[in-house]
Symmetry: C2
């Protein structure tokens, strides 16, 4: 089928057009690509051929220049790309710049500046609280409903989908043990999340208000926050997760621009506690996104977490992250935190799905509590698009290899 004729119902049709960075077959050079069905458009080359003023912005080895260009440029580029792949008179010009997806190498699409991870699913936070603090009066910590809890993660170990994940070693100590032992993690887990990519920076000392979210955030991706639960449990008091998380964080190769997700916007769950003004979104545009995530282990779907259930929105997270005056940089990435819905089959981590190993999952290739070497985990997702179409998010996949 010719590349332009994306089949009816394809979630990567011209209504989607996510951005990535690729090398064509046989080349080491990286350049910005836009996904259309099963093809990748070399965006810079197409722009050059069509005399577009955005050619220089797109013929680059990372998305960062486009991210830095700001919302007006994002809209203009998207409008131009849409025309190039839909207007018949452009086809002859554009066709040579379409590469079959299967022939290209996909790279980490942007240089990550700071990486922050949040904890914004009430279902996830309650599950974790019940598992680790069964005697607590409330499974949520007292601050949970007042602010989006977050922490900084390691930006240098964010890897693109498809990168193998080496099982980390570290210290662990069960409560009854006299001293910690060292070895490969035996409780290696996933966290199904959505990552938000900051484009336009902000200056030090000036908070970004809720209403400016879409001036700064370019788009989103799927994110798997691999977690070694045994390492994490021993290390995290009092300063939070560190080596239990820092060995790898996988992101999809495709960044979906927020402009492709207009139809997916939904109100977040009803707020049960009054919010301080800088977080109060009751008068703002809907801040949630209706993303339907699917988690598969070795090709077998184990969970379908609904992103629409997240208590804290990405706009609230951005406002909170900067309310102390912290600046934003192009390439900042922040994760939503594990997405878990209210149903057992909607939980975004094996910790929750197996209730900390108590209830193993039955997979076609055997039982699982946590991940085995060789396991392949894949997150995929779609969102409602225009006229009943689906907007596909790029998948994020990774295979566990022995350390």
């Amino acid at each position: 089928m010719p590349p332009f004729e994306v089949p009816e119902g394809d979630p990567f049709g011209p209504h989607n057009l996510p951005y990535g960075v690729f090398s064509p077959a046989g080349s080491q050079e990286r350049t910005v690509g836009v996904r259309l069905g099963d093809h990748v458009l070399d965006a810079g080359a197409a722009a050059h051929a069509l005399g577009s003023p955005y050619a220089a912005l797109l013929a680059r080895p990372t998305l960062n220049p486009l991210l830095a260009a700001g919302r007006t440029a994002w809209s203009d580029v998207r409008r131009a790309l849409t025309a190039w792949v839909t207007v018949p008179s452009h086809r002859e010009t554009v066709a040579p710049f379409l590469h079959p997806l299967s022939s290209v190498t996909l790279h980490l699409p942007f240089e990550v500046a700071d990486y922050v991870d949040f904890y914004a699913s009430e279902n996830h936070a309650r599950n974790v609280g019940q598992i680790f603090r069964p005697d607590a009066a409330d499974s949520l910590t007292p601050n949970w409903k007042h602010l989006p809890i977050g922490y900084h993660g390691r930006a240098g170990t964010v890897v693109v989908s498809g990168t193998d994940v080496v099982r980390p070693s570290g210290q662990r100590k069960a409560p009854g043990d006299a001293a910690p032992v060292f070895g490969p993690s035996v409780r290696l887990d996933i966290e199904a999340e959505v990552g938000f990519v900051v484009g336009a920076p902000s200056p030090l000392g000036r908070p970004v208000p809720l209403a400016d979210f879409r001036e700064h955030v370019f788009g989103l991706c799927l994110l798997n926050d691999w977690s070694a639960r045994d390492i994490q449990a021993w290390e995290y008091v009092p300063l939070g997760p560190f080596l239990g998380k820092s060995f790898a964080t996988s992101v999809s190769a495709w960044i979906t621009p927020l402009d492709a997700l207009e139809e997916a916007r939904v109100a977040p769950p009803e707020r049960t506690h009054p919010l301080l003004p800088y977080l109060d979104d009751s008068q703002e545009e809907p801040g949630g996104y209706d993303l339907r995530i699917s988690v598969a282990v070795n090709g077998h779907v184990v969970s379908e977490p609904p992103f629409s259930t997240m208590y804290w929105t990405a706009a609230q997270q951005l406002a909170h992250m900067t309310v102390n005056g912290a600046s934003l940089r192009t390439g900042d990435l922040y994760g939503s935190g594990t997405v878990s819905g209210p149903e057992p089959a909607q939980r975004g981590s094996l910790l929750e799905l197996t209730w900390n190993g108590r209830d193993p999952l039955e997979l076609p290739d055997g039982k699982r509590t946590f991940l085995e070497d060789g396991d392949v985990v894949t997150l995929s997702a779609w969102a409602p698009g225009p006229d009943g179409a689906r907007v596909g998010l790029g998948e994020v996949t990774g295979r566990i290899v022995a350390g």
Copy 2:
């Protein structure tokens, strides 16, 4: 006095030669400089004039290319620089590239990749434990003697000495309050630390052993981890510090190469707990550094923390940070954690110096519990050098301005 004739006893003599990045008077261009007494040598220009093969490495707007070049290059460049500023036959050639320190603008000397902050002073950790958990049986958490506790901080808000620090706003809630309130921090504090700068990177999945510390770490600097204690107290459970720390971290403009600190190396305190093999430094070269830090508020010295008392060394911190396979990048920065000695006048934070505000400090300009707007905090330090000389560390200073 001619620039080459650094006075006897000057802690920035030719035995020191720390690296920075500066712009000469009237210029916006940034280039690598080396401090000699009260002057800055334009290292790239001098190298070019002398036909050095390192000219291209030094005539750059950041230290990152030099950092990435690795230990052999670091030694070669240092040997060359030492010759240029000490061998009389070079003087005529080099003299035009010396700028009075007072005439130049100093910049953040390197692009920070990831920023990690540790918690390696036993005195500090015990003080904090006693202040915040007075009923605990042990003021240290159970993991403290088994691993260097650390967490990731915000790399994008690392600023150079001299940058004003805007008082952060945020949420705080006293235990008796019904709900949090929002406003400027009323418990703004400092943390006197030493920062270590990673030069040579390491690949994902491969830990860096203790013995390879000096293959990867280029040098150190003073670091002030500004901390909003009220914001931190409310936010940090269960994922650690976030907005209470992320508004600003100040580093000195000068990075002292480890090669200038050979005489300052000392054994760390005796280990009270057996260490797992990857942290066991009993057979390694001495991993501590005898740095004498001084903390001044508005010019008045309030503390003199001795870095030699730190329980965990920088080599142990690096081994721990990578033991899970996390990679290193050129420009990674990690802080020691607050340096506090055993004596009350050796504590590296106002939290400890005033015992959480209970015992105000008497300064010439009034009492202090935490920082007031307008306060200027300056950390300085020196280390023993060759033949009784002192090796000065570049100071780190910052003024609090209202948010």
